[in-house]
């Protein structure tokens, strides 16, 4: 019976000791941070410009050279004034061409029919009440809506280019509907052969 009691005390002693020594961690040695990751200038040189220097660091962006021209009418002179009065306006969050705006499109269509060597670029725009990529897409949808109207009127598709500026180029600065409604627009840019 005495040995059982003694055994109990040993077990008790062990149980009491374990929580106090079990979880202690010893300090580890110094963590040396690598001087730079590939492509990462962690300490920018005094000029604050990426590139140069030794080791793996970012290189300056290549200037674009020798890139072939894109589709559309690259290099054709642009006239932003000719069709100023024909700017088409849209309702909020909509790319539908309202019936009251159609006569403006007819003016542009008539001009293009009378000047078969000319082309037009439609610039689609939005007010600031959408997020940026949403507005870039919506502006394009607006430009395409007017392009469809011109094509339906008999203008060849390759004479009508589109470009969206999303919310990048408001016509009127301001944060109210008076400004917003002037920014939800398609502008026509006349393109003449270079």
């Amino acid at each position: 019976m005495k040995s059982a009691k003694f055994l109990n005390l040993i077990v008790l002693g062990l149980v009491l000791t374990v929580p106090f020594v079990g979880c202690k961690k010893k300090p580890i040695g110094v963590t040396t941070l690598p001087s730079s990751r590939i492509g990462t200038p962690t300490e920018p040189p005094p000029g604050g410009i990426i590139g140069g220097g030794t080791g793996p660091s970012s290189a300056p962006a290549e200037p674009f050279v020798g890139t072939p021209p894109g589709p559309g009418h690259p290099g054709w002179p642009e006239d932003h004034e000719k069709f100023k009065a024909q700017t088409v306006y849209f309702d909020f969050d909509s790319a539908v061409v309202k019936s009251g705006e159609k006569s403006k499109i007819e003016v542009v269509s008539a001009y293009l029919k009378a000047n078969p060597s000319h082309a037009v670029k439609i610039e689609g725009n939005c007010d600031e009440r959408g997020t940026e990529e949403y507005n870039r897409s919506l502006g394009e949808r607006r430009a395409l809506a007017v392009r469809e109207a011109l094509i339906a009127d008999g203008i060849a598709p390759d004479r009508v280019d589109t470009i969206s500026f999303g919310e990048d180029k408001p016509a009127v600065a301001g944060h109210d509907e008076a400004a917003y409604k002037m920014n939800r627009r398609d502008e026509f840019v006349l393109l003449t052969p270079k």
Partner: protein, 386 residues
């Protein structure tokens, strides 16, 4: 002999104390609902100036809250005499003790913050990661790369033209972005290590919103060349183009599921704006419901597959999170254009402040937000490197 009552009581108490201590170590639960988790209370002392400020910023972003010693569960002590050294304790029990060297004190502070996060949550911290974003001064702007907290920011373009939607290629120092350098929104691939740039998509009309697949092999994008802005996918070099949607509406902002099987995007159907997903190899799109909010846009799928963060346009802009399979959306904070960190917990986003946008960091479980210092002009469209 009989174990007498006193011995039994003593044994039992010690045993239960041991159990209690073991459970105390696991403070962070594995799962959380967005915006509902209490921050972890921590106290800190011994650091000064930039190191102290950096640690506070990093740990608040990581879901900690600084309190007095009496309310704290964790204690971080140390100093930055020469180099940064720090020790973390949990209820007076040492957890770790580390010293750092190299690069800069700021970077060492980030490394210590990451070690605290690792010890407390068991997950890797984000304090040493990077973001890309755009800086606009007027309509023209440039693409920038910086530390996740906006420090060490550098322009990677000098084209003085409209730029948009930078997106990292996973695991690479490569960015895809939209540039109007050639008088049209076109998509470029830019290798930051070599400086080489290549046009990936220069179709007529809109080329924008590039999103690289998790395995880096494909790119989803929005093209309008076939009559309306739709979702397309191609190989990383721009070849093998395939059209995925033909909605006639303005589709936008494609993003990949982490298994590379789905592309989630924003669209419109029967006058209602919604999020959808389409099989990346082609097929029928299905709606992802976002119950409780309207006009969802700019989705980003968390790397662990569980959540989609997005912007709801409801008058203002709200950052929301919904389970990836759809369901009830949680509104977290005002802002737009979110991007997940690799930890599937922290989100970088933009919000309009003082005439222009600036970037901010959101801890989704606790809803804690820290603003990132702004480079002059408007900073927006962030993408977190993963």
């Amino acid at each position: 002999m009989k174990i007498n009552k006193l011995t039994f009581l003593f044994f039992g108490l010690t045993f239960s104390l041991t159990l209690a201590r073991a459970e105390e170590i696991i403070v962070e639960k594995e799962t959380w609902q967005p915006g509902t988790k209490a921050p972890v209370p921590i106290t800190m002392s011994g650091f000064s100036s930039e190191v102290d400020a950096t640690l506070r910023f990093d740990l608040e972003v990581a879901g900690f809250k600084f309190v007095g010693a009496e309310q704290a569960v964790y204690a971080l002590t140390g100093n930055n005499n020469g180099n940064v050294q720090g020790a973390l304790a949990l209820a007076k029990t040492p957890v770790f003790s580390k010293a750092y060297s190299g690069v800069s004190l700021r970077r060492q502070a980030h490394a210590l913050a990451d070690d605290v996060v690792q010890a407390v949550t068991g997950k890797k911290g984000v304090a040493q990661t990077r973001i890309a974003f755009k800086v606009d001064t007027g309509p023209a702007g440039e693409i920038y790369v910086s530390d996740y907290d906006g420090h060490n920011a550098q322009a990677v373009t000098h084209d003085n033209t409209i730029v948009a939607a930078p997106c990292w290629a996973p695991g690479q120092t490569v960015l895809y972005y939209t540039s109007y350098k050639f008088d049209n929104p076109d998509i470029f691939r830019h290798d930051l290590g070599t400086g080489q740039r290549k046009a990936i998509s220069r179709h007529s009309g809109l080329n924008t919103s590039a999103a690289v697949s998790p395995d880096g092999r494909r790119v989803a994008m929005i093209l309008s060349k076939d009559g309306a802005p739709d979702v397309y996918v191609c190989d990383a070099d721009g070849t093998n183009l395939k059209r995925l949607t033909a909605t006639r509406e303005d589709d936008s902002s494609p993003c990949w599921s982490p298994d590379g099987q789905w592309i989630c995007f924003a669209t419109k159907s029967k006058d209602r704006r919604m999020l959808c997903k389409v099989p990346a190899s082609g097929g029928t799109a299905e709606r992802i419901s976002t119950g409780g909010v309207s006009n969802p846009t700019e989705p980003d799928w968390s790397p662990d597959g569980k959540w989609i963060v997005f912007t709801a346009m409801m008058g203002g802009f709200e950052i929301c999170v919904v389970p990836a399979s759809g369901g009830s959306a949680s509104v977290l904070v005002s802002g737009e254009d979110p991007s997940w960190a690799a930890n599937s917990r922290t989100v970088v986003f933009a919000r309009r402040r003082g005439g222009g946008r600036g970037l901010s960091l959101l801890d989704v479980p606790t809803k804690q937000v820290k603003d990132v210092p702004r480079i002059s002009g408007s900073n927006s469209q962030p993408s977190w490197a993963k």
